[in-house]
């Protein structure tokens, strides 16, 4: 196993689930409860020193019991290494602890995850939609059960009938 993954496992034996290495990328899967503590460890531990947040994303696996996967990718400027931290969330309890207090840049990226997949973040300072309109009624567009053409919100718009006026 990659030494960084081993360090996380040694520090969080309960929270750590597995580590994958593929095409040179290191990904660590952790328990949702341990995510915030591991994030803090990655930022503050001098051997990790992951001070740069690269990406927050999410993947939808509708057939699996824990449906959503939240993905954080962080980078260390000092050690020049990248770690991807993933955690799984079931649909009926769709909450993850926000990492905005560790990396403030997570604010917008977590809002995007909420907007697109409907995963909510505890202790997030501003949990609103970001790209879709605030009153978007159709749910979360990047979920797999959302059709590509949308659910027909546009069809309910009232249009002026210009021909009738003349």
């Amino acid at each position: 196993m990659h030494p960084l993954a081993e360090a996380i496992q040694a520090r969080f034996p309960d929270g750590f689930l597995s580590a994958q290495e593929w095409r040179g990328d290191l990904a660590v899967t952790v328990k949702r409860e341990a995510l915030h503590a591991i994030g803090r460890f990655l930022k503050d531990d001098p051997a990790m020193a992951c001070d740069y947040i690269v990406l927050v994303s999410s993947v939808d696996w509708p057939d699996e019991e824990e449906r959503f996967e939240v993905v954080y990718e962080v980078y260390s400027i000092r050690h020049r290494h990248r770690i991807r931290v993933k955690t799984r969330v079931p649909e009926h309890d769709c909450y993850v602890d926000s990492l905005t207090d560790i990396w403030p840049g997570a604010n917008f990226m977590e809002r995007e995850v909420f907007d697109m997949m409907g995963i909510r973040f505890n202790n997030h300072p501003d949990m609103r939609r970001i790209l879709m309109p605030d009153d978007f009624p159709e749910g979360y567009p990047l979920r797999k059960d959302f059709p590509l053409q949308g659910k027909g919100w546009r069809d309910t718009f009232d249009f002026l009938n210009e021909g009738a006026a003349s």
């Binding site: 740069y52 994303s57 790209l131």
Partner: protein
């Protein structure tokens, strides 16, 4: 008359905590909410910022975006990997080539495809030309937003030369789609090589020309030096990248530290700022244009004179175009690659590329089959806007324009 007096009463009021001020009228200070955008000439697209003002100082800003959201990530899940290349043009439509490059690199990492040497050089040359175009565009519009109009005409004059060069290269000026998975669409012609060499001789004195316009311009200096300062630690925490991060003194350039293309074979330096203000971010972009010229020159000299420009992996890469028109098997191969796609192995990758705005990354999850299961675009413009509230606090309304100008945002990429 009575109406006027009423108004005066609301403007001046007594502070109850200090009875001695009863006779002295106190100027009422009230927060003002200002909507900047969605249609504002300086927002570079359709962006709305709600500013809470105390006088003319910004106390809080709320960014409202998504006006240009087209659901590109959703579209990607319904198309093959090859079909997505033209969508990447429309992300950052000012610098389409670099988006193509970033996307193709990500898919090549997923498919484990190695690009032939000549193609690597061609890619690097075009990417650096695109970087110059991006920085010229930025310099012109940023100076225009701040009030120095002349530079705009000079930078756009030189940008036009390069756009014409793109036109000759691939038939389009902005939405280029010249990169392919595993290589590039076509090789340089002799005329293109002559033109780029002419440009290498022509361009360096022009950079000094722009600098003359700005570096002694008192308005430019007053509007940029010490404006929108962000420390290295904060910049990292907010995920800033590219010149915006390097302006704060962080040496982070993927061309150097996760090198790709022909960059490891070229000598170039990464300019790093000291103060983290708008001026440093401007200075870095100027220096990067000089470095780009160096990189292009080295690539032109080192490049193998001939060789394939597309990897020979028939299950993934497209056949040469001339064979598609004359050979039945090649036509079938081309047709199947576009309609069904290639069979990607299950797995997930993240691949970041140093575009001129910052780190443009693609996170691709594949479950096998011809379509990506999930494709996430890490767009620098979107992430830079996340730091806007923090950076704008305490500055004037006019500085708001400078700040998002200095990120070099393009809303097509921000909203995707």
């Amino acid at each position: 008359m009575a109406h006027l007096e009423d108004q005066r009463e609301t403007i001046y009021k007594v502070d109850p905590a200090h009875p001695e001020t009863r006779d002295l009228p106190i100027l009422r200070t009230e927060e003002l909410l200002l909507n900047m955008g969605p249609q504002h000439p300086a927002t570079h697209g359709v962006l709305k910022v709600i500013l809470d003002l105390e006088g003319e100082r910004i106390t809080k800003s709320t960014v409202v975006m998504g006006f240009l959201h087209r659901g590109v990530e959703k579209l990607a899940e319904y198309g093959t990997y090859h079909q997505f290349i033209p969508h990447t043009d429309r992300l950052d439509y000012v610098c389409a080539m670099y988006n193509n490059f970033a996307y193709c690199r990500a898919v090549e990492k997923l498919m484990n495809v190695t690009v032939p040497e000549r193609a690597e050089y061609l890619r690097t040359i075009v990417a650096e030309v695109q970087r110059i175009i991006g920085h010229l565009f930025w310099l012109g519009t940023q100076a225009l937003d701040i009030g120095a109009m002349t530079v705009f005409f000079y930078t756009f004059r030189d940008r036009e030369i390069l756009l014409d060069w793109f036109d000759e290269l691939c038939g389009a000026r902005l939405t280029t789609s010249w990169y392919r998975i595993g290589g590039v669409e076509r090789d340089f012609t002799a005329s293109l090589e002559t033109k780029i060499r002419d440009f290498l001789a022509y361009f360096p004195p022009k950079i000094d020309e722009y600098v003359v316009f700005l570096e002694k311009n008192r308005i430019w200096l007053a509007r940029t030096v010490g404006v929108a300062v962000i420390s290295a630690e904060d910049a990292l925490g907010y995920g800033l990248s590219g010149p915006t991060l390097r302006g704060s003194g962080v040496d982070y350039d993927l061309r150097k530290y996760e090198s790709y293309g022909a960059y490891p074979k070229c000598e170039f330096s990464v300019p790093v700022g000291k103060n983290g203000d708008t001026y440093d971010r401007y200075w870095i972009r100027i220096e990067e244009m000089r470095e780009s010229i160096k990189i292009i020159r080295q690539c032109m000299d080192q490049m193998p004179k001939e060789g394939p420009v597309m990897a020979d992996v028939p299950s993934v890469t497209l056949p040469p175009k001339d064979r598609v028109f004359t050979n039945l098997e090649s036509m079938i191969q081309q047709f199947k690659l576009f309609s069904q796609g290639f069979d990607a192995p299950p797995g997930e990758i993240y691949c970041g590329t140093e575009a001129h705005k910052g780190e443009l990354g693609f996170y691709i999850v594949s479950t096998g089959g011809g379509n990506p299961y999930r494709l996430k675009i890490r767009s620098p413009s979107f992430i830079h806007m996340g730091a806007f509230d923090y950076m704008a606090k305490g500055y004037m309304i006019a500085d708001a324009v400078t700040i998002f100008g200095s990120y070099d945002i393009v809303m097509g990429e921000c909203d995707r």
